[in-house]
């Protein structure tokens, strides 16, 4: 088969990385000593499918490593070896190594083979020591042998002959099978992707034929009429009968590459059982399902088959005389544990039932952009509709209202496409917490709630690092060592709780720990010693908490490789701010801390208040607005060198005249003629002087950077209903600009 496999590389990598995430999660949940068999199975399946894919694509290093890993996992899966802490650690390391290898291969960079070889050696050692020299790994697969050998009739029932036969053929290939050899009954059903992935049953069956005498029966029942066939999909199913004394592993190996793309059952039928499908008269075999049984009325046979096309058990239980006489059959037909295992990977990894598709983010953004343009057009029409008179105007307006409703729904649906559950970000924490706790000698339990809370993919990606930092801080600085905790009357195990929830149009992510909390006196002492705070200044709790966001600030007694270098909290806050979010701290000494990050759900739309200044309209993000008010001349004070201030709830806030800042001719210059919008950014508040407030609306943000260039104090632009452009204000930037202007004045 000379298919160009390169076209499947990207999906292999994508699926492998996803599978590795799943494997990591499963490993973290693995109970040392008493592992859940299904969990071990799922871990095994990941290694197995990566190995298959890597082998198929010729990524030899990956295939070789995963093979070793798979061998160890198979030992664990079969219960021949117990899961120990060391093994679980090594398996987690293997996830890292596989990730690194796949990343290198994907980027066509050299793989760090030393690391791989070291770990591979360790894994091999574990297997070698664990196996203890016993060399019969294939033995358990033959469990049902004696039961099957007891009677020839039931054995025949397990043979492929029970397969439905509609115009099928059977073929025998292979030469070295002996007549007294044991047999393998194999059911092979390809999943839709099998052929597209470059797997071909011809190759699989040919390699099986090398093991012994192979009889192949194809079933065409599921093949649609020629015109309706999706020709790249495999509809055929096969029943194979392999007469061979080979080990189960050898049979498995033939299907290795295709394992994730097929449903497979492999059953061993012991020597002496009579062979159902015969190479001599294939057609006859197919049409008489139970060969070795007493005579069956010809009409009854197809009936049995059609009622339960795949089921050997059903044939046994049917009222046909053949089945009735073979009452001992269930023993032979009862599946051994092995075949059941073999079937599962195909189901889980085959992806046949997935009801989702992969779409590139560019396509979605394009869609969002187009919808954004539509929203603008709709706003223009609405504006036009308001100006229309006459009998049709009413109808027009009602049509417009409907359009507006539909537009809003469309916009929300499109935005939702970009939304992903925060579990994508949360999923990295169990591993991180486990590793850090181990390294720091702490006992930590990680709780996560609200993982299904959805938010925009861009926000999700950017919030990852800040969260990592906060969780790391909680573990390193927050949670105390077990003995300290016990002395303080706490449980030796500290709890770090990650929680996400929707709050209004925002998402709140909280990192909570029951550690020592922020030590305000130490923070203050440190700040004083560094001259950040005057010796006699009195700070509120909030102000003290603010100090930890200062660049380079750390109270950690020693710098570890975990944290304490003082880089981080300022970066955390900057990242959160860049996303239009904010971070709050609540902490009680000895009880623990809470860091609450509030983020917008999306970056593409903002709820804004339109304000007019002269002939221009500006949008102030609603989240920045505290309130709006009209000033009385007497409440305004003029400070030399610092411009005008006004009294607002006990504070003096600077007044920023937008028309001055942007150089526009205003309608109102006297403060009492216009309005003050009290807005905040970067924790500071200002009074924006504007002519008047217009209305509140959701606006689609157009990037200034992409369309023009960065402008201080402006977060972006939008197109209004009348087609004019309005700038969206960025309060943090505006406050910086205003402060600079004030100083210069």
């Amino acid at each position: 088969m000379d298919l160009d496999l390169a076209q499947f590389h990207s999906s292999f990598f994508e699926e492998s990385f996803e599978a590795l995430d799943g494997m990591e999660a499963a490993l973290l949940g693995l109970d040392v000593g008493a592992p859940d068999p299904e969990r071990v199975n799922s871990i095994f399946r990941v290694a197995h499918s990566i190995k298959g894919g890597a082998g198929m694509f010729g990524f030899k290093d990956v295939a070789s490593f995963t093979h070793t890993l798979e061998t160890l996992l198979d030992e664990l899966r079969s219960g021949r070896m117990a899961v120990t802490r060391d093994i679980s650690d090594k398996l987690l390391l293997s996830v890292d190594v596989m990730r690194a290898m796949l990343t290198s291969v994907q980027r066509k960079e050299p793989v760090d083979m030393q690391k791989v070889a070291d770990l591979q050696f360790d894994l091999e050692m574990i297997v070698a020591q664990g196996a203890g020299g016993t060399a019969a790994p294939a033995a358990p697969a033959t469990a049902p042998a004696t039961a099957a050998a007891a009677s020839s009739a039931p054995a025949a029932a397990t043979a492929p002959a029970a397969q439905p036969a509609v115009g099928n053929g059977a073929a025998a290939t292979g030469a070295n099978g002996g007549s007294n050899a044991a047999r393998w009954a194999i059911e092979f059903r390809a999943l839709p992707e099998l052929l597209l992935r470059g797997n071909d049953p011809i190759a699989i069956f040919s390699s099986l034929a090398e093991l012994g005498k192979l009889t192949v029966v194809a079933n065409m029942q599921a093949v649609p009429r020629l015109r309706s066939i999706d020709a790249e999909r495999c509809y055929l199913t096969w029943t194979l009968d392999l007469e061979s004394d080979c080990a189960r592993d050898q049979v498995d190996a033939a299907f290795e590459w295709a394992a994730v793309d097929c449903e497979l059952t492999i059953k061993r039928v012991e020597a002496g059982a009579s062979s159902a499908p015969s190479a001599v008269a294939p057609a006859a075999v197919v049409e008489a399902p139970v060969v070795a049984a007493p005579p069956v009325p010809v009409a009854a046979a197809p009936q049995v088959v059609e009622a339960a096309p795949k089921s050997v058990e059903a044939a046994v239980a049917s009222p046909a005389p053949a089945a009735a006489s073979a009452s001992t059959a269930p023993a032979a037909a009862a599946p051994s544990p092995k075949p059941a295992d073999a079937k599962e990977p195909a189901k889980a990894a085959g992806g046949g039932e997935h009801s989702s598709i992969r779409v590139s983010i560019e396509k979605i953004d394009e869609l969002i952009n187009t919808v954004g343009e539509l929203v603008i057009t709709q706003a223009m029409l609405s504006e036009l509709g308001r100006k229309l008179d006459g009998s049709v105007a009413e109808q027009f307006r009602s049509g417009l209202n409907q359009l507006e409703r539909n537009m809003r729904e469309l916009q929300e649906s499109v935005m939702r496409v970009r939304m992903l559950p925060i579990s994508f970000t949360f999923s990295r924490f169990p591993r991180m917490v486990r590793d850090l706790a181990q390294r720091l000698g702490k006992q930590i339990e990680l709780k996560m709630t609200g993982e299904q809370t959805e938010l925009d993919k861009t926000v999700l990606e950017k919030i990852g690092d800040p969260l990592v930092h906060l969780v790391r801080n909680s573990i390193d600085h927050g949670i105390e060592a077990p003995d300290v905790r016990v002395k303080a009357g706490k449980s030796p195990t500290g709890i770090v709780h990650l929680d996400a929830c929707h709050r209004g149009g925002h998402i709140a992510v909280e990192i909570r720990d029951d550690g020592n909390g922020l030590d305000k006196s130490r923070i203050l002492a440190k700040a004083r010693s560094r001259g950040l705070v005057g010796q006699n200044d009195v700070l509120t709790d909030e102000q003290v908490h603010e100090l930890i966001f200062m660049p380079g600030f750390s109270t950690a007694e020693k710098t570890t490789d975990v944290s304490g270098r003082g880089v981080g909290m300022d970066v955390v806050r900057r990242n959160v701010k860049e996303l239009g979010g904010k971070i709050e701290i609540a902490s009680e000494l000895g009880k623990g801390s809470r860091f609450i990050i509030t983020l917008p759900l999306t970056l593409a739309i903002v709820d804004g208040q339109s304000v007019s200044v002269g002939s221009e309209t500006y949008i102030v993000p609603l989240t920045s607005i505290v309130e709006s008010l009209q000033l009385q001349p007497q409440s305004v004070n003029r400070l030399s060198g610092r411009g005008e201030v006004f009294s607002f709830r006990g504070d003096y806030l600077p007044i920023v005249r937008l028309h001055e800042l942007f150089g526009i001719e205003p309608r109102a210059t006297a403060l009492h003629e216009g309005l003050i919008v009290v807005a905040e950014g970067d924790g500071r508040r200002i009074g924006l002087f504007v002519d008047e407030l217009l209305g509140q609306q959701q606006v689609v943000i157009k990037s200034m950077e992409a369309n023009y260039g960065p402008v201080d104090g402006v977060a972006g632009a939008t197109i209004l209903g009348d087609g004019s452009v309005a700038l969206i204000l960025d309060l943090s930037g505006l406050i910086r600009v205003a402060a600079g202007t004030a100083r210069a004045a």
Partner: protein, 99 residues
């Protein structure tokens, strides 16, 4: 007798055009000859399509005659257990079989 259908390499790479061609052949009437002498490469997708084609032809009571069949095709058909379904030479369901 219609013109023989000449196969070259019925594989997944050419499957769409093969499907179109076979569908056109289904619309004709009378017996059909298939010349597969030149088939050097064949895969499961190709054989599955051919098997469906032969089945659909026979369902219309039309006969299929292989005027030549390469080793590659014979081997692959046998490996997949489709020898009979394809009515290949040496099986019971040959071209003369009119059911």
């Amino acid at each position: 007798m219609s013109i023989a259908l000449v196969l070259t390499s019925p594989t997944i790479r050419t499957i769409t055009s093969l499907q179109t061609e076979l569908a056109e052949r289904l619309d004709e009437s009378g017996p059909l000859q298939i010349d597969a002498t030149a088939v050097d490469r064949v895969d499961t997708a190709g054989l599955q399509l051919l098997a469906a084609f032969v089945r659909d032809l026979r369902a219309e009571a039309r006969t299929v005659e292989w005027v030549g069949c390469s080793d590659a095709l014979q081997k692959a058909a046998r490996a997949l257990g489709l020898h009979t379904a394809l009515c290949l030479p040496g099986t019971t369901g040959l071209g003369s079989d009119k059911n």
